[in-house]
Amino acid sequence: MSDLEQKIYDIVVDKTEIPRERLSREASIKDLEISSLDFVEIVFAVEEEFDIEVPYNANTMDADFETLGDVIDAVAAEVAKQG
């Protein structure tokens, strides 16, 4: 597991108190019952951690991010852009 993936899981645990063992790339955000406000906080914390901007809109959340893997990939892509 990459550092990036680990850090994102740490943030999710911190913001939602979901047990770490339930988190994986395949875990569905819907099944984890992460509320949209929690998700806004998570995205904010991730952006602060990696100094990036994640293109996230709560209105289109279901279409944009289905699993934690989608979030990790989006963050990795933004981090890569930063070079």
């Binding site: 406000l37 806004v40 904010f44 809109n57 709560a58 209105n59």
Partner: protein
């Protein structure tokens, strides 16, 4: 109980800074949403806004007054001036009438741009002083107080704040005060000045702002568009209006409110439905009496689907015979001003027999099964209209108006 007449209204908005311009814009289906103008910097996540443009504060309010007026107070005062002039009232000339007049002006953001200017000086520019009038400019009651001072209103006066429902709460309270006889007339409405960098950043941060534009009830909606402005009304005892021989714009007939006691941002079908039902009860209306609803219709995923359920729950099969629109698609979400702008739109609909359009709808979302007046205004007789405001924080306020005469 007194019948209550609306005899004056005033508006400042992205669709125009007086009632006549606003009315024409609604009837023509004009879109007031454009990229922000005059800002040093625009947040990346903001595409368009419902910004007040071409508002000549000096001409409207006088140069002397401006140092003490945050834009939110400027908009509110200008709209009140228009409404009071339309009603043909001169309360300064009649101190007893001034004492029998209430003034209630809602606001969500109050003097947020004045605070931002102060913080910019302190923390960005490294200056050591802020505007000497920061406190009286920024305080939430500033707009209300300036209206009372300008017009000699010396009765019960205060500001209310309930985010997107502020104006409806202010209007409804004033209506009940006139109806119940506490006062003879009330100057009521809402105002907000929100198109500034800091506030737009705050909305961007919440991740609910539209990627492109405001598309209420549309399948491809992506969120709300920040607007601003003011909508202010004069309400008075029906018999007084008749005796004075002034034109009655509409009859104010109902006000209902409720709290969800649920989520701070997610709306509740149950909570909002109770506000709509309370409004119908207050007005003595059956659900089948309602022809038109100016919806809260923010174009967020959550609001519009919830609001459709609310309307279905309250109106049942009659829902299909109610022309629903969200004029936020044309003037943006005025937050504390929203209910004011939208009551003007309702009155325009009653007077013209035309329901303004919900702009930018590609296809009505199957999750919003309503008769949405899409993309062009619809000619149809409107006798009774409701205006919904369901605020962040779960505070709901709904108004009912009837065609005059």
């Amino acid at each position: 109980m007194n019948r209550v007449a609306i005899t004056g209204m005033g508006v400042v908005s992205a669709l125009g800074n007086d009632v006549e311009t606003f009315r024409r814009a609604l009837l023509e289906g004009r879109d007031g949403l454009q990229p922000p103008e005059g800002l040093e910097d625009v947040p990346k996540g903001i595409s368009v806004v419902g910004q007040v443009r071409g508002f000549d504060a000096e001409a409207r309010l006088g140069k002397d007054r401006l140092p003490l007026l945050d834009p939110f107070a400027q908009f509110g005062l200008a709209a009140a001036d228009e409404a009071i002039a339309m009603a043909g009232l001169d309360l300064r000339a009649d101190p007893e009438a001034g004492q029998r007049t209430a003034c209630i002006i809602g606001t969500g953001g109050a003097g947020i741009s004045t605070l931002q200017d102060g913080f910019t000086r302190l923390f960005k520019e490294g200056k050591s002083r802020v505007n000497p009038f920061t406190v009286p400019r920024a305080m939430g009651n500033a707009a209300c107080s300036h209206v009372t001072m300008a017009h000699g209103i010396t009765g019960p006066s205060f500001a209310v704040t309930s985010a997107c429902a502020s104006a409806n709460h202010a209007i409804g309270l004033g209506f009940h005060m006139v109806r119940g006889g506490m006062v003879d007339r009330a100057v009521v409405g809402g105002t907000d000045a929100l198109v500034n960098f800091g506030n737009l950043k705050a909305w961007e941060a919440l991740r609910v702002v539209a990627r492109d534009t405001c598309r209420p009830f549309s399948k491809d909606r992506t969120g709300m568009v920040v607007g601003e402005g003011a909508g202010v009304f004069v309400m008075e005892r029906w018999d007084d209006a008749v005796a004075r021989g002034v034109p009655i714009l509409a009859e104010m007939i109902g006000f209902g409110m409720s709290a969800d006691a649920g989520d701070i941002t997610f709306p509740s079908v149950e909570g909002a439905s109770r506000a709509v039902r309370a409004c119908l009860d207050d007005a003595g209306l059956a659900p089948t009496d309602v022809d038109h609803i100016n919806a809260h219709g923010t174009a967020t995923a959550a609001n519009d689907a919830t609001e459709a359920q609310v309307i279905r729950a309250v109106f049942g099969d009659h829902t299909d015979r109610i022309a629903v629109t969200s004029t936020k698609s044309a003037h943006g979400h005025g937050l504390g001003a929203a209910g004011g702008l939208e009551l003007v739109a309702c009155i325009v609909a009653l007077q013209a027999g035309v329901v303004p359009a919900t702009l930018h709808v590609s296809e009505v979302d199957p999750d919003c099964p309503l008769d949405v007046v899409t993309n062009a205004p619809r000619r149809t007789a409107v006798t009774v209209a409701l205006s919904n405001s369901f605020a962040f924080g779960g505070l709901n306020a709904v108004l009912a108006v009837r065609k005059a005469g």
